[in-house]
Symmetry: C2
Subunit: 322 residues, 2 copies
Amino acid sequence: MRDVKPIEAITAVEMTGESADREFDFELYLRQRAALVEQALADRVADAHGPASRLLEAMRYSLLAGGKRLRPVLALAACEAVGGAIDVAMSFACAIEMIHTYSLVHDDLPCMDDDDLRRGRPTNHKVYGEAIATLAGDGLLTDAFKVLAQAAAQSGAAHSAPEALLETIAELADAAGSAGMVGGQVIDLLGEGRDLRLAELEELHRRKTGALFVAAVRGGARLGGGSPEELTALGAYGAALGLAFQVIDDLLDVESSAEDLGKRTNKDQARGKATYPALLGVERSRDLARELAGKAERALGAFDDRAAPLRLLAAYAVERKL
Amino acid sequence: MRDVKPIEAITAVEMTGESADREFDFELYLRQRAALVEQALADRVADAHGPASRLLEAMRYSLLAGGKRLRPVLALAACEAVGGAIDVAMSFACAIEMIHTYSLVHDDLPCMDDDDLRRGRPTNHKVYGEAIATLAGDGLLTDAFKVLAQAAAQSGAAHSAPEALLETIAELADAAGSAGMVGGQVIDLLGEGRDLRLAELEELHRRKTGALFVAAVRGGARLGGGSPEELTALGAYGAALGLAFQVIDDLLDVESSAEDLGKRTNKDQARGKATYPALLGVERSRDLARELAGKAERALGAFDDRAAPLRLLAAYAVERKL
């Protein structure tokens, strides 16, 4: 974060494949990967009959609502960047997205951020009520660890060593739990209406967003057979990318309409939350995001072309409009 | 459940060690085991400083509030029943209790059962507010899987095979998630004010209580090196014991005072919940509990004296006063 440089020459035009000399159509890649993840999620969190079918319906309502699927796409891309086949990381990718989705369902609850709109649709508790929404979140979180622990069985012949799977479970739980995402949400809640300093805001987002990004790329790479050095480099990539992503989220909250974004906007200001634009202004926030994306990309210095999607994802995190 | 027999000659007097010829003091055993678990929990969910310290405080408030510690004690006893040392199952025992505690914290929330009193103290949200209570539950649930996945590291030299740990994680998540406990809570909520038939009530409790009992004894035994046959027998034991335990819970809710029980009583009736005493009457409910405890004990037929605590626990489940 010290050496302020704008991210190198990758532009939105190049990313979206409108430039003929890109090796692949990045937007198509994102759509295809998101569709793969969507299918894998639908398989793993199957519709149910019987007395608890309402629960599965509520879980699937939020889980299968589309979305960028950024965390699972990152996990799969990191797996490939170290030479792994995406099958070995697919259950992990699903588990990450289930945990991300549970956190959205609980964050939207009336006792938390009290949001009505998410991914362009009414939030879970608006449709199913608070009790079922709370339980749908609990179910997604718990079932995520089932999906992950059963990954060896799911991926058949091509699976990782059980030790790698155990380490991945421990790291994911650490990233999602009190030391990571849940702790970040508490800092967020307790910080409302209070002026956070830049360092506090960074700590908040490191835990609330960054930890899961780091877990996504490190886990995907570990299951793909990555070396400790590769995992360390990818961890640095994930941390910078996660923060860049959050800075842009803050900017989009200020600059977009709810219609564009599929969720309520300007809500940070309304709740008295500290944000990057509020602390740094819009321009310096955008510079910071670009700087972080550049830092993420530089962390991939030792990787070959198989890391191309990760490099493009770093640029995408900054240039995205939703 | 067909062959109605009262449980054999183990009485409360024998259990509490007042009879000189018992091989050990069962009440002392329970207290000592609960104290061991308490210490292990305090170690694994440590106090924290910094901005999220309030979260850890809330998690520990509910986790370290005493209680019978029945599920972890069952896990440790099952581990010993198959010849394992309790150290290999201690992290698992802690994970089970963390998951049980999270479920209590969430069940007590205003949008669920809306309870003010638990284990003789104000419920989590009464002390910390709904948002932090929800997150404390999320943190306990997530961190449980971290504790379990790190079990090999925690128990040092004496640890189970990674495959056994993965199977245990998958089974615990299955028992706690949408197919088990969370699903049971949904059935419970949706059944309020409606007359459940006996079969529905049993299905509810099989998922809400029984699944975690089964996971406790099967997991403890698996980590202790138990055979598939031993795990199957212990699963039958856990299922019968869990149901017996729930029948007695229903009876205690009717017959005890809040002061004795440390939580609000007569609440089932107040909320229009189906209960065993309401469906069967007090006497037939007590008979059913004894019958189930007998069934649990018979499932242990092939075990030697190392299963003595499990046998005594079956009797205790029925004779307990809180």
